[in-house]
Every structure is written in C-alpha cells, then in structure tokens.
Symmetry: C2
Subunit: 210 residues, 2 copies
DNA sequence: TCCTTGTGTATACATGTGTATACCGTCAAT
DNA sequence: ATTGACGGTATACACATGTATACACAAGGA
C-alpha cells in the first residue's frame, strides 16, 4: 500500500502547509509538525524514523505526483512554437495548483541537505530527459542534434523551476513570466540551429534576409 | 566607518563559515554563531539587534563585495563570443574564490525569508542591468534591441548563479559547466536575432545556407 | 579625575526541542 | 477468547535556544 492515510497523511500535509508559509523542509521540527497536524509529538515516530526520513518521504510523494503530472504532457502540438507554448502553460498551471510541492522543490534544490539535493536533481534530470525524448520523437526541431536538445531541456526545466516561485507569488506577473519563458525556450532552440555557424556567417545571413 | 573589526567581523566570518558547510543564513542560531566565533553568546547583541539584522548585514557585505568584483568586468573584448567567454570565465572564478558568499546568495534567493529574498533580487537585477548596459554601450550585439538585451542579461545572471553551486562543488565538471554556460548565452543572443522571424522564414533561411 | 561609551563576560530563566518509556484502545488473526 | 500489532497518547528528561539583567574593563573626553 503506497497511499497515505490517517496520521501519516496528516503529518505530510502539515509539512507541506508549513513549508508554503515560511519554512523549509530541512528546518521543520518534529513537534512543530505534530502540532500543525493536531497530533501528539510522539505519533511522529510511529510513521517516521527521524526527520531525515520524513523529508525523503515527502520528496518521494512530490516526485511521484509531479511525474504523473508531466506524463500527461505528451499531447498534440504541430510546431515547436506551439509545443513550447503548450508545455509552458501546462507546467506553470501545475505549479500553481501545487504550490507546496513547488516550493519544496525550489528550496531544497539548493538547500543545505546533500541528500535531498541529490534526490531532487535526479528527479529534475529525469523530467528533462522525458521532455527531450518527447521533442526528439515528435521531431519538433529536427535541425538540432539530440544531445543539444537534451542540454536545452535540462536548462529549460531548471529555468522554469527557477521562475516558478515568482509565478506563484506574483499573480500580476504571471502572464509576463509565461511569455518570457516561451521566449527563453524559442531563443534557445533557434540559437542552437546556428550553433555550427561562425559569427561572420550569421552577420551575412542577417543582411541577406533584410 | 563601514569596515568590520573585532567581534563583529568574527561573527560575520563565523556565519559565512557555517553557511559554507551545511547551514543556510536563515537557520543560523545566535549561540551557534558565537560559539563558532569563540565569543560569548551575548556579545552578539552588542553588534546586532537580532538574527534578521545579522542576515541583512551579511548580505550587505556580500553585495558590496560582489559589486566591486563585477565592476572590474568592464574590460576589452572584440566580439560578443569573446565577451561571453571572458565574462563567464571571470564570474565563475569569482564564485570559486568566494564560495561562502555564493552559497548564501543561491540559498537565500529562494529561501524562506522574504526580506532576504527581496534584497537579493534587487542585487541581482542591478548586476543584470550593469551587464546589459555594458553590452549595449560596447555594441557587442547590435542586432538585438536593448530591451531584449536586458531580458537576456537577467536570465543569464540567474542561470549562472544557478550553476554556481555545481561549479563550486564538482571540480571535475567545471570546464563542462563553463562551456555549457557559454553556449547558453550565445544561443540566447543568436536566437534573439531571429525573434521577429517566423518559423517558416527560418526554415528557408537554414536551407539556403546549406 | 571622573564619567561615558564601547565591547566582552557571567548568570539565569522561560521556552522549545528530540527522544525514551510506558500506557491505552481498536481490530484482525489465531 | 486471547494475542499481538498498529496508531495514538501522556509524562518525563536532558539539552539548546533567545533573551534579560548585571558586572568588568579599556579608551577617551570633560
């Protein structure tokens, strides 16, 4: 049984709630958690060996959740422009719907715990790989070699996560952030098409097209 | 007198030392700090009102230091490729030489304290503005409108900071990270040159050049 | 000379923390 | 019907934390 019930669920939810407010996963206290969950402090031990295990488990659930979310992303899209727009829209909406999970991910990705950092990085790389393979399979940008697509995917995933906090916290900037992210992606891929051209080549190319 | 002396200096240094190890600025304790500094816990109060003020001051010193470092960046560079290479080299070396300051910046940029976050963001935006104005003044990429240069600068600054932790912690990846970052910047600017072209335009352009 | 100011120390207190031990109800299996 | 695991509780302990008050001592100006 992998699903959360009862006290364990309450504790995890309490953790996510606290994190969204002001805290970070690694700074949560056992008593604090129990208090927020409305349980006796010692109940914590019924479900987790210590706080590290708690953190890892929370991360695990978040990862599973995100993964199932991203999987739904495999949709139709005619062009790469279209794809980037759709993807960005979807991902940001996901972040907005799961602010706690997003905050955890952003905070702990550079947080003080090497354990959590490693786990999160693996998770991000997996997402990036999926994204890249999707792009390659659907031949959205076949002018760019696969390895470059993977690299850009990794960058993009991180950039989006980076902007996610602002997206969540500053509603009036959401549209701007989303468009900015789309520009980011498009410039990366378009720029990558010119990777093997020298700067001189590009300058003459630009003059020709004007 | 803006320079740090005696106990105050010791406390700030202790803070930076602790942060580089495992901690984050906002999670530092007053007693912990004093212990690391070899001082009596209450000496802390002689210099700082509370831990928030301590954090802000530390950030202030870091910001001042970084600013003076970045200012030295205004150097000669023939082309934008050359400039991006030089800049990236310099910035990463700076990070390497100031791991504590870098770690603080990365951690707190998305950390739990809104106060520190705001302060850091302002600092980053200032750096990005400087970078953009430098690029514009020296006409390194005059095919791209100023507003776009500013946008790319903001993205770049954040991306570099993002990668800084890996750069510091994984020596064997440093070269790779640096080259990756250069590609990032070049693709952004090259991609931006094509901003006002449709996807069809680009495809024909690519075919012509082959 | 005295007095103030700056810096560091010592002691003390209330509060919060992680953890250990022991107790209790529910419920399913034997 | 008894047993044992599971989830939850109560009490207690040792320790760390932020903070308040009071003391010490050096340097400098009046």
């Amino acid at each position: 049984m992998n699903v959360l019930t009862g006290g364990k669920l309450k504790l995890v939810q309490a953790g996510l709630r606290l994190i969204t407010e002001t805290r970070s996963l690694t700074s949560l206290g056992l008593r604090e958690l129990a208090r927020e969950a409305g349980l006796n402090p010692n109940t914590f031990y019924r479900h987790f060996k210590n706080l590290d295990e708690f953190g890892l488990q929370v991360l695990g659930y978040i990862a599973a959740d995100m993964k199932s979310g991203v999987r739904e992303l495999r949709q139709m899209a005619e062009s790469s422009e279209q794809a980037s727009h759709d993807t960005v829209t979807y991902v940001y909406h996901y972040f907005l719907a799961n602010p706690a999970a997003t905050t955890v991910a952003v905070r702990e990705l550079h947080g003080p715990s090497p354990l959590l950092r490693k786990a999160l990085e693996a998770q991000l790389n997996a997402s990036a790989r999926e994204m890249a393979e999707d792009i390659i399979e659907r031949q959205l940008v076949n002018a760019v070699p696969p390895e470059t697509i993977h690299e850009i995917s990794r960058m993009t995933i991180r950039y989006i996560l980076f902007r996610a906090m602002d997206y969540i916290e500053k509603p009036e900037q959401r549209e701007a952030i989303q468009r900015e992210t789309e520009r980011f992606i498009n410039r990366q891929f378009r720029g990558a098409m010119l990777d093997n051209l020298s700067q001189g080549d590009i300058e003459t190319l630009m003059k020709e097209s004007s």
